[in-house]
């Protein structure tokens, strides 16, 4: 798209000034606590590890079906509305999920490698 190295570095510097370092959630997320912290950004790392572990045990479509599309993930009980949350943030959760479904684990593996190799001194939130 015509971008130069200077462009990319300037954009990087701008983002580094805006972004926080990765940090641990106040507590881990489990199946029992899943519905307690929805919508709370402080628990991003907790939910990330929760889903990483699930995806290592169950097929992708089963995880998405159970935690995004099933009635218990939407309008049952505490009304978690996971499908609506997927569209929140101008569709960004859906975009990332879409990449994962399209490319399977390649993206998250590649992401983990890139982050680990370029930000060695900071926590890298890829799957363990």
């Amino acid at each position: 798209m015509g971008g130069t190295q200077e462009h990319l570095e300037a954009i990087w510097d701008q983002h580094v000034a805006l972004e926080r370092l990765a940090y641990h959630s106040p507590a881990a997320i489990t199946e029992h606590t899943f519905y307690d912290h929805l919508g709370d950004e402080e628990y991003y790392q907790g939910y990330l590890y929760f889903f990483c572990d699930l995806l290592l045990k169950k097929p992708i479509h089963a995880v998405v079906e159970e935690w995004i599309f099933a009635p218990k993930a939407n309008f049952d009980g505490q009304k978690p509305e996971m499908l609506n949350r997927l569209l929140a943030g101008i569709l960004h959760p859906m975009l990332y999920l879409g990449y994962g479904l399209e490319f399977r684990y390649v993206t998250s593996i590649a992401w983990g490698i890139i982050i680990t190799s370029t930000l060695a001194s900071q926590p890298a939130w890829s799957c363990r």
Partner: protein
């Protein structure tokens, strides 16, 4: 992939209007109206004129109406050939929205908007 799921979990719900409880209860078989026809109806519908606002506010204000319009679009999820055909239909629709939407008289075609969209979506 887990990042998308985790992001979904920590985002607040903007509005339940677009995907209400009824979407989970009704059949997925609408009348089979083509996506272009639904888009054309939106373009002709005066309720959508002159809207200025965010994606979230659009969901809150028009979610119910858009859901009613979109409900006419149908796909048999158990039929791989039909799913492929419908994905193609949606791809063409998105190209119309973002490519045609990226054209400006006198300026021409805004490459960046289209390329960015193709890469991100």
């Amino acid at each position: 992939m887990p990042t998308g799921l985790a992001q979904a979990a920590v985002h607040k719900i903007a509005s339940s209007a677009l995907l209400p409880k009824s979407v989970f209860e009704t059949s997925t078989y609408g009348r089979g109206t083509h996506a272009f026809s639904i888009l054309a109806r939106i373009m002709r519908d005066h309720r959508f004129n002159n809207f200025v606002g965010s994606f979230d506010s659009a969901q809150t204000k028009f979610g119910t109406v858009i859901q009613q319009l979109a409900a006419e679009w149908a796909v048999d999820g158990t039929n791989p050939k039909e799913v492929a055909k419908k994905v193609q239909e949606l791809s063409f629709m998105n190209v119309m929205i973002y490519v045609v939407g990226g054209w400006r008289d006198g300026e021409g075609f805004h490459n960046a908007d289209f390329t960015l969209w193709v890469i991100s979506q």
